[in-house]
């Protein structure tokens, strides 16, 4: 939310700069089982974002102080590769990646049946290889596909999607310019089958009507991505059936 009011983000014909309609998502593709060493893995391409997620475990939680006697803990590490943006990112953990790791872990803990694995840890690694706004959502979607691939029990498949506001218009799935110069961003982790929300953040301001419209867009996009994920999981299994 850069807040530069003089940047034009909507064309005269009502479409966005990349030609999308206001309720149109960037192209999404998902591939499952991309990392042979991981228990489960997935790669998502969402617009120009590329995220890879790997799942290891459940394993004994170490150090022991993080163990929970009644459930598993989910240890998420979200990281952006130094080459993921046009300006090189300094490698390693920073405040932003710590925050995203934390909120992603909390969202996943509400979806994964953690009570089935007391004292365990499920390690989820999310690596952003290319970034163009919406990486936390791409990371959540990739992590969910990787968890499903790893055979981890979940209540539903969680899909990360975002809507926002540009030039007083609610739009679905912000790209980089819209994210930088728009007025609001509303990323959400949605469970399409149950209709629940496992994760919700808001940057900027939205009126109640705008919020409802943004969530309507998010649910619509989540259903579309859910279908793509289910196809990817089934396709990978059909290919790998032995």
């Amino acid at each position: 939310m850069g807040g530069y009011g003089d940047v034009q983000l909507l064309r005269d014909d009502g479409k966005r700069l990349d030609g999308r309609a206001v309720d149109e998502m960037r192209p999404v593709s998902i591939e499952v089982g991309v990392l042979p060493a991981a228990q489960g893995s997935a790669m998502i391409t969402h617009g120009l974002n590329v995220a890879v997620a790997a799942v290891y475990g459940p394993m004994e939680a170490h150090p022991r102080k993080i163990q929970r006697q009644d459930r598993a803990v989910i240890d998420v590490r979200y990281n952006m590769a130094p080459f993921s943006t046009s300006d090189r990112i300094r490698p390693g953990f920073n405040r932003r990646s710590q925050e995203i790791s934390k909120v992603t872990a909390e969202a996943l803990e509400s979806v994964v049946l953690v009570e089935l694995y007391p004292r365990s840890k499920i390690r989820v690694e999310i690596e952003i290889l290319a970034a163009e706004a919406g990486t936390r959502c791409a990371g959540i979607t990739a992590a969910t596909a990787a968890l499903a691939d790893a055979g981890i029990p979940m209540r539903d498949l969680m899909i990360g999607v975002a809507s926002g506001k540009i030039e007083d218009t609610v739009v679905l799935d912000l790209d980089k310019a819209e994210d930088n110069y728009g007025q609001a961003d509303l990323p959400a982790g949605i469970l399409p089958n149950t209709g629940e929300i496992a994760f919700l953040q808001m940057d900027g301001d939205l009126s109640p009507d705008e919020f409802n419209l943004a969530m309507e867009y998010n649910f619509k996009a989540a259903k579309e991505i859910h279908d793509i994920m289910v196809d990817a999981l089934k396709q990978n299994q059909t290919r790998g059936d032995a």
Partner: protein
Amino acid sequence: MGSLVHAIGEKRMSNGQSGAEQRLVTPGEALGSSSGLRNGSGVIEKEGQFYSTKFGYLHSLNQTISVTPTHSSYTPQSGDFIIGYVVEARSNLWFLQINGPFQGLLPMSLAPWKVEFGESRKHLDIGDAVFARVQEVDESHNVVLTMKGVGLRKIGEGAIESMPAHLIETFLGKQNANIIKLRDATNARIIATDNGRIWFDGDVDAMRNVREFISTFKQCIHKEELQSLIDKL
């Protein structure tokens, strides 16, 4: 919908004969009404409906609907025959790495030898491999192992290879048909265990052939490839 689930499950129980199609389900997918049925592993019940919690194949047995995940790590169950590596030796017990989420505990009393207190390392030292059986798994996932039983011993010869535990059933084949073929073809002694580890022993050629077979088996991604690999034996 409930009857549909049941019908598909029954087909799967017939080992997929007569072109029966196995139904792949994903987490959160509705599986139909729960009336008159029980939910097994990988299935939860909510408001009279069954929902899958795992990505895998749906099947039914004795009015119980469950989902067998397509991939999963080894989950120890009582009675499993396993190969474990000793990772820690205490005065009166050993901890074994059993390819599961938690280490297995082998108490001195369940070892096949008479062990004096403090002399555990004389019998099993760190890095040693053993055939053992899972005696008990409690609700907090503590795994107790035993080495008292037929065929349970310290491994002093041969080699051990690993593969994902869910592939072991395919590796063994129906009534161990595949492993018997492999044994006959290579003249090696082979033992596959529930935790995805395979022990084999024989002369140099036999060892090499078994190792090559296991490595190719793990890479086989198509059913046809796998069948031709087994047929070649």
